[in-house]
């Protein structure tokens, strides 16, 4: 594994001439755009890390004349706030990225699903959208973007739950197959991409894939926007190249007393101090949507775990058994162990339950609850018990 150290990058918030980039993109054929994405090695920036070029390729291959490009702006992972900043500062690039994607896959309509907690951004976004539509018309591309609001449901960040929500239903993830590229929103072929992914796509069109791959590593090309919070003197969003170790990250952002870093939010992994040096932040090590939370030695990892489990117990859509009931069991279980009402060996049973949830739950939420649980209980067992 390559380790390039910690590198700060300025790609996402770089000022560009939207018109210029869009015009450049529309001159390219759809195959050229897709090839550029494939060459760049860009992987989804929302956390799942699916190769963007492949996603666009699959959607483009579908025969249906009606397709959609959906922007997942339902950023809800605890500790992630980068998409909010991106939408606040460079929404022109988000819209532009959607138009490029639309061209690549053959979609005339784009939908931005914006979480309800970010509704205050809407007036500003609508102004930008208006000038975007005018710009697109000038360039001569038949492409329209609509906004749909969420209303306070973390699970709607899951792609198929998001589609259900747009369709006016409860945000309950669907059975897969079929996958979104075949049958997505309104059962039409859909490419759903994270806010940051779409902006990055714009930048790849601007600068070219070759320039993009000078950042990052072979498996984690390019840069990523990280949302950094917790026990750090410099909380905020930072654009960094992928491929650094957690140690390098902590050296830069820690407060000198960092005991653990939660990579990837509540559904991510907790890295203890002793594993900082060996853990790489990137798709080959620890994939992430960019949420980085630092905890110093004053923090109780029991409280952290409890907070996450409470979060999942509330935000689970509730339809499948492993997640709906499993989350409650994990939460109640650690409470009982902490209070001494259950033996500490009960944690071993819960670890096995977490394993089952990981492979039996219907969607990524249920499958990820075990990540935080196992990594915190595994690395900080004494704090959970005593």
């Amino acid at each position: 594994m390559e380790n390039k150290g910690l590198t700060k990058v300025d790609l996402i918030f770089e000022k560009i001439d939207n018109y210029e980039v869009l015009a450049k993109g529309f001159k390219m054929s759809r195959d050229e755009i897709i090839q550029e994405m494939l060459d760049s090695g860009l992987k989804g920036r929302g956390g799942a890390g699916f190769p963007t070029g492949m996603k666009w390729k699959f959607t483009a291959a579908e025969k249906n004349p009606v397709k959609y490009i959906v922007c997942n702006a339902d950023e809800g992972e605890p500790g992630t706030f980068k998409d909010r900043e991106i939408l606040d500062r460079v929404s022109n690039k988000v819209h532009g990225g959607m138009a490029i994607a639309g061209k690549a896959i053959g979609a005339k309509t784009g939908i931005v699903y914006l979480r309800g907690e970010y509704r205050y951004l809407l007036p500003k976004l609508m102004i930008e959208l208006d000038s975007f539509h005018k710009m697109i018309k000038e360039i001569g591309y038949d492409f329209n973007i609509e906004y749909r609001m969420g209303s306070g449901a973390y699970i709607c960040g899951e792609e198929s739950a998001l589609f259900e929500s747009i369709e006016g239903k409860r945000g309950e993830p669907r059975n897969k197959p079929p996958y979104p590229t075949v049958s997505g929103v309104y059962d039409k072929p859909t490419s759903i991409n994270n806010v940051e992914t779409l902006v990055t796509a714009m930048m790849i069109i601007q600068h070219g894939a070759k320039n993009f791959i000078q950042y990052g590593t072979k498996d984690s090309r390019g840069s990523k926007v990280f949302s950094i919070s917790g026990d750090t003197p410099t909380p905020g969003i930072f654009e960094l190249a992928l491929g650094m170790t957690v140690q390098q990250f902590v050296n830069e952002f820690g407060d000198g007393d960092t005991k653990a870093v939660q990579v990837g939010g509540a559904s991510g992994f907790c890295v203890p101090r002793k594993k900082f040096a060996e853990t790489i932040i990137g798709f080959e090590g620890m994939p992430t949507g960019g949420s980085m939370k630092l905890f110093n030695s004053s923090r109780s990892m029991y409280n952290v775990l409890h907070n996450y489990l409470e979060f999942f117990t509330e935000e689970s859509c509730g339809q499948c058994t492993p997640c709906r009931v499993g989350c409650q069991q994990l939460l109640k279980g650690v409470e009982k162990v902490k209070k001494g009402e259950a033996k500490s060996t009960y944690l071993n049973e819960l670890m096995k339950l977490a394993d089952s949830m990981k492979i039996a739950a219907k969607c990524g939420l249920g499958q990820s609850v075990g990540n935080a649980f196992k990594s915190i209980v595994g690395n900080f067992k004494e704090e959970i018990i005593y």
Binding site: N175, T313, G318, C327, Q329, K332, K336, L353
Partner: protein
């Protein structure tokens, strides 16, 4: 064809077949819970998970289509561990009081627990953390949320099969539950009491409200004369809860069993079904005359049958503007009830206040119907207790009766005689066929021109059936119908009733007479019938109904001697003043939530 391997065995299936179905082809049984053949795929319980080579997670076999070259393993260590956990998780949120539960020994969660999770439970009890609600507001059924495992079968049933959607999934996370509109009591919302949800609930979360103890009390009370009537659909399904295969006719043994249980008089709803044909047939012909001859614009057509109380409540909530279209006839159950405490009481010289009138029904909505305030034409509650087919089976077991070895017995007289036209009331299309057999003959003086009186076009499982009968060669009294084409329609399951009502409302239906049954298949698929239910089972019961009809001597309602007698001695003629008093009713507009 798709070729795949399951447990290293080859199987070929049609495109679109699920892994579950493919496994079944190899006689490999994968356990399921939220899956039901009558309903769309859910894929939420995760009981049916299996391992797919190369996949990161286990897959739900009920929701995953087979694909070429797939390699599936149904019983690996991973699968067994996960499945055990899933069953234990379900048990942890389920109030297990099996020895007290009505579904004891007929509960799918119990079976899963027995197969996959016996022994000490690992996880903590979650029931105490939730404030579960037990809704006993409806006279027809009980909704016990503490036993719900959220498979959503009930929600899918109410939505897909019945288009009522009285219940939906509400909230999320640990608070997720099956709820009526804003958690209102079921008796205060659009629920029609059809009991289709009860038929499909895998646990004891939805069960009928039982009246077994009250009926035993009446039987033991030396002061009371307990009369029992049996619906047509009961006799072709009762056997299923007593060890028989679906589709066995157990009429004679059923009558004998009822006698052994201690009922004073074993009578037949089929008698009043024949009576209903007389009343309703006359009512239809009167409406047609008023509309076609008198030119009365106020006459409501099409006329709809009114023997299905689930259907009645459906109209009252959702299409109240069409209440005038409903036949004013009571259902056979209620006609019987009114006569039991008047005509029958008089004939047998029994004080009507001492009569307890019980009915055995394939239906849960009938319990609501018996409770309707207008069903007291006799001066008393016309039907005191309604028992489902399932409850009767319980009583037979409680009495220790060896059902299989009972002799065939016959109904008592006065209101015990019936015809084949009455027994077919139990199947969709049956009421229409019975009405046509009588009406055609009254109007033309000839038998209806279908081989052996079997009016095939109105039979079968299609959701909506249409037919038209040309009326020719009328007798003098009915000359005004000469050359008319009587257009009829039949629908079963409220989703199809909904279709017809929308057509009628939009002016796109030109029917004169429509038969609607609230339950899929008609009463043979009723909410009170033995569980489980499936299309195959309902088809077998339906076949038995028509077989019962063919084996009867009399097959036209107007030839029923008990019916002829009751008009002569008591009611005078169909739609007479006395008939209207006892055998006809009115309806109530209700809110649509």
């Amino acid at each position: 064809m798709i070729n795949l391997l399951i447990n290293n065995q080859k199987v070929s299936v049609q495109d679109g077949t699920t892994v579950l179905a493919a496994a079944k082809k190899l006689k490999i049984n994968i356990p399921t819970l939220c899956n039901h053949d009558d309903l769309c795929v859910a894929g939420n319980c995760r009981v049916c998970i299996v391992e797919q080579k190369g996949a990161r997670t286990l897959i739900a076999s009920c929701a995953t289509p087979a694909s070429e070259g797939m390699e599936i393993f149904t019983n690996t260590l991973k699968v067994r561990n996960a499945r055990k956990h899933i069953v234990e998780l379900l048990l942890s949120e389920h109030r297990s009081d099996c020895t007290k539960c009505y579904k004891n020994q007929n509960c799918e969660l119990q079976s899963l627990a027995n197969d996959f999770a016996f022994g000490d439970h690992v996880f903590l009890d979650l029931v105490e953390d939730h404030k579960y609600n037990i809704d006993r507001s409806s006279p027809s059924f009980i909704k016990d949320d503490s036993k719900c495992i959220r498979c959503q079968r009930c929600v899918r049933t109410c939505s897909e099969l019945q288009s009522v959607s009285a219940i939906a999934v509400a909230h999320k996370g640990a608070h997720q539950k099956i709820s009526s509109f804003h958690d209102r009591p079921m008796s205060q919302v659009v629920c029609t009491n059809c009991g289709q949800c009860v038929n499909r609930c895998p646990t004891g979360a939805l069960v009928e409200k039982t009246y077994i103890d009250q009926v035993w009390d009446a039987i033991y009370d030396p002061d009371k004369h307990v009369v029992v009537q049996t619906a047509p659909a009961v006799r072709v399904a009762l056997g299923e809860d007593l060890g028989y295969d679906p589709g066995e006719r157990v009429t004679g043994k059923m009558v004998n069993a009822l006698r052994q249980l201690g009922f004073n008089s074993i009578l037949d709803t089929d008698f009043s079904a024949d009576l209903t044909i007389m009343e309703e047939g006359t009512e239809l012909l009167v409406r047609l005359k008023k509309a076609l001859v008198d030119g009365d614009k106020e006459i409501s057509l099409p006329m709809f049958t009114s023997c299905s109380p689930g259907w009645i409540k459906f109209v009252e909530h959702k299409f109240p503007e069409f209440l005038p279209n409903l036949s004013t006839c009571k259902s056979p159950q209620q006609m019987f009830g009114a006569l039991a405490k008047t005509f029958y009481a008089k004939k047998r010289n029994i004080d009507p206040s001492k009569i307890v009138s019980v009915s055995i029904m394939p239906c849960t909505a009938k319990k609501f119907e018996a409770d309707r305030p207008e069903m007291r034409s006799s001066g008393f509650k016309d039907v005191d207790y309604v028992l489902t087919t399932r409850e009767l089976a319980v009583m037979i077991k409680q009495a220790g009766i060896d059902f299989r070895n009972l002799e065939e017995a016959k109904y008592d007289s006065i209101m015990g005689d019936s015809t084949g036209a009455a027994v077919i009331f139990g199947a969709t299309g049956g009421v229409m066929e019975a009405a046509l057999r009588t009406a055609y003959e009254i109007v033309t003086g000839r038998e209806i021109p279908f081989g052996n009186l079997n009016v095939i076009p109105v039979r079968g499982m299609d959701g909506v059936k249409e037919a038209s009968i040309k009326i020719e060669g009328c007798v003098d009294a009915w000359k005004f119908l000469e050359g008319a084409e009587l257009k009829v329609a039949i629908a079963h399951g409220l989703v199809n009733a909904n279709k017809i009502m929308k057509m009628v409302r939009d002016g796109q239906a030109s029917y004169h007479f429509v038969e609607i049954m609230g339950c899929p298949g008609g009463c043979i698929g009723g909410g009170g019938q033995p569980i489980p239910t499936s299309l195959a089972i309902r088809q077998k019961r339906m076949k038995a109904i028509y077989s019962e009809d063919e084996h009867m001597v009399l097959r036209k309602s107007h030839l029923n001697p008990d019916v002829v007698a009751i008009y002569k001695e008591f009611l005078d003629q169909p739609n007479s003043h006395k008939s209207h008093e006892l055998l006809h009713t009115h309806y109530t507009e209700r809110e649509n939530y």
